[in-house]
Symmetry: C2
Amino acid sequence: MISVQQALEQILSAISPLGSERVSLLAALGRVAAEDVDARRAIPPRDNSAMDGYALRWEDTLGATRESPVILEVVEDIPAGKVPEKTVVAGTAARIMTGAPIPDGADAVMKMEETEKDGSRVRIFAAASAGLDIRRAGEDVRPGERIVRKGDVLTPARIGMLASVGRAVIDVHQRPTVAVLATGNELVDVDEAFLTEGKIVSSNSYSLAAQVLDCGAVPLQIGIARDTREDLIAKFNAALRADIILSSGGVSVGDYDLVKEIMKEVGNRMQFWQVAMRPGKPLAFGTLGGVPLFGLPGNPVSSMVSFEQFVRPALLKMMGRRNLFRRIIQACLDEDVQKHAGARNFLRARVEFRDGRYHASTTGEQGSGILKSMVLANGLIVIPEAVTHARAGEEVTVQLIDGSLEGMAEPEYLKD
Amino acid sequence: MISVQQALEQILSAISPLGSERVSLLAALGRVAAEDVDARRAIPPRDNSAMDGYALRWEDTLGATRESPVILEVVEDIPAGKVPEKTVVAGTAARIMTGAPIPDGADAVMKMEETEKDGSRVRIFAAASAGLDIRRAGEDVRPGERIVRKGDVLTPARIGMLASVGRAVIDVHQRPTVAVLATGNELVDVDEAFLTEGKIVSSNSYSLAAQVLDCGAVPLQIGIARDTREDLIAKFNAALRADIILSSGGVSVGDYDLVKEIMKEVGNRMQFWQVAMRPGKPLAFGTLGGVPLFGLPGNPVSSMVSFEQFVRPALLKMMGRRNLFRRIIQACLDEDVQKHAGARNFLRARVEFRDGRYHASTTGEQGSGILKSMVLANGLIVIPEAVTHARAGEEVTVQLIDGSLEGMAEPEYLKD
């Protein structure tokens, strides 16, 4: 029997980040940077106007008011995108649009609302201060400044930032291909559900593949291996071109030994663990032709929970992520729960925000075959190994498994 | 001047969910169900064994211990996937694997660990109770039970559940195609960044398209429209096949009127709002050939914040989502902030969980051109219209804009 933590450490120590590939900006969304990026130019590249108005010398506007405006000669019109040609000298101004470069000589911008055009001249109704409404070159980013670090997840804002400094492509970590293989003679695929008696659909083939996709990795659906030597070997061989192999079923104590036997035979350093957790006690881990191989339990809930605890962190590590773990919150337990000492329990739970704190309650029957408990869950209540009772009102740790939890709390500020 | 809430209400009232399309299970991940799904079969379909062991009649095992085992005749071997052929009568048992159907006559399963095989017989070392280690037909899902509701987001668990009941395809809401168009003579595309003087890269073309992708919608990148009548009309025409059109730039007061003029000319019921918010005050909304058209501000931060407040909820509504809004939390403000009364401010902020509560601090200079403030942010502090000061230590509302916030809190429970 090993602890969740020991299993996780052994797994993560066997996993390395994949190499990089170079992708275009939009393809990089959600990927992890594999290079540090330093700005090759300033943002903004030149001093420019923050307003539509007039670029001028602030000292010329001293004392200007609506009653006694200052009058300046307009020497140029600078729409956005135009390079100024004239210098603004005392007594002159240039009409300028938002984002247009500040002409030489000017040191402030007076916004349109405080001006009035009069032929080739403009009346200025307010006094400017030095630098008013000028956005300075480099005020967002200085040349050479690091704008993306290795390991950063590329968000929409980072992608905009990369575009700003003229980067059209970026090195990101490759995405692992993840073979998903179910084992068991009791299993049929989804289109045989009504053709068979006494069989069950291999839902793990779909829930695990969806979990893989959800991590940003690429599933390779190997299908169902029958419990025969030939079929198991053939399916494991078909899985070998993946970066990581997930099989489900066949790793419990007392299971027909064939899956384990084949794993031992074709795999390297296969370990068949009893992990002190519930659900998800049996877990196999090793490599197959150098490819990390996870043998997950066959029960639908156990396989999903084991994926969350062990496979997801491994996949995120392969993808270069710094943070490998789901968010953890503390919540008020809304019911009594009991368990045996010795195993860490992961109770499928619904987390809500109510009366200023998080509340967690289980999603009903917690059997490892009760997929409904997982469907309704947005979190897993983690009850530590030594604990046997947790009572309503106690604070518990919850691992959030729904990344967004959108709409979990009412958007109060919208109710004005 | 209208409020954020008024603008949002007008926008959402003009937006309807798109129709449905039928996709296969994995393609449905993250999509929104457009149909109610009732289970066409029970899960599990038959009573089956929760353990590897022996199916037997519990009364036969009364008083069995390791010292005085009960001995039963083994009449059949039922591996997973086999339909039992024999009936278990008094004094007999069937060897059974996890997931295999319980044979007629049996009413309990004794796990392998409490048994010992002896030729054609088995020694039972413990007393069973009625129903022990039998998973009942329908204990997860009863036939006819609703397993997915219209508007549910299809998570890995729901996809596994659909597979379980033999559904290989499901109706989901279509994804909107979203045309993204930037306007302005000062803009160049990312590959012209170093060819030009006085121009800036149209980063909005990328950050907005990435925000569209992030919502699960499909960007259509129309590129940059020059400030000419012909080019604007051509680009708006190219955008018309989208389900929604986003343009950025050209909607501020005093901007060259051309963009607004063309919007009014080609569009319907175009409204040019001054929204009481900062950043993001100017906003245009209307339709173009029946297609909803958003005119967003041109500043990089303003366009992203306006997208968050107005476009994202609209896209989620089109995709059939029930919850249109980002998660809202209350956090301790870690610095003093000041603003003018009258506008709702959205301060780019970093949210952390520390000492049992959320803390928020701004990401530095908050100018609407400072994209770095957005790059570093995982939330927007919402300072209400009437407020002019918020002091360190006060509680503030924060809209979380990084869906996951993964790794935000240390996974404490891992440190055992």
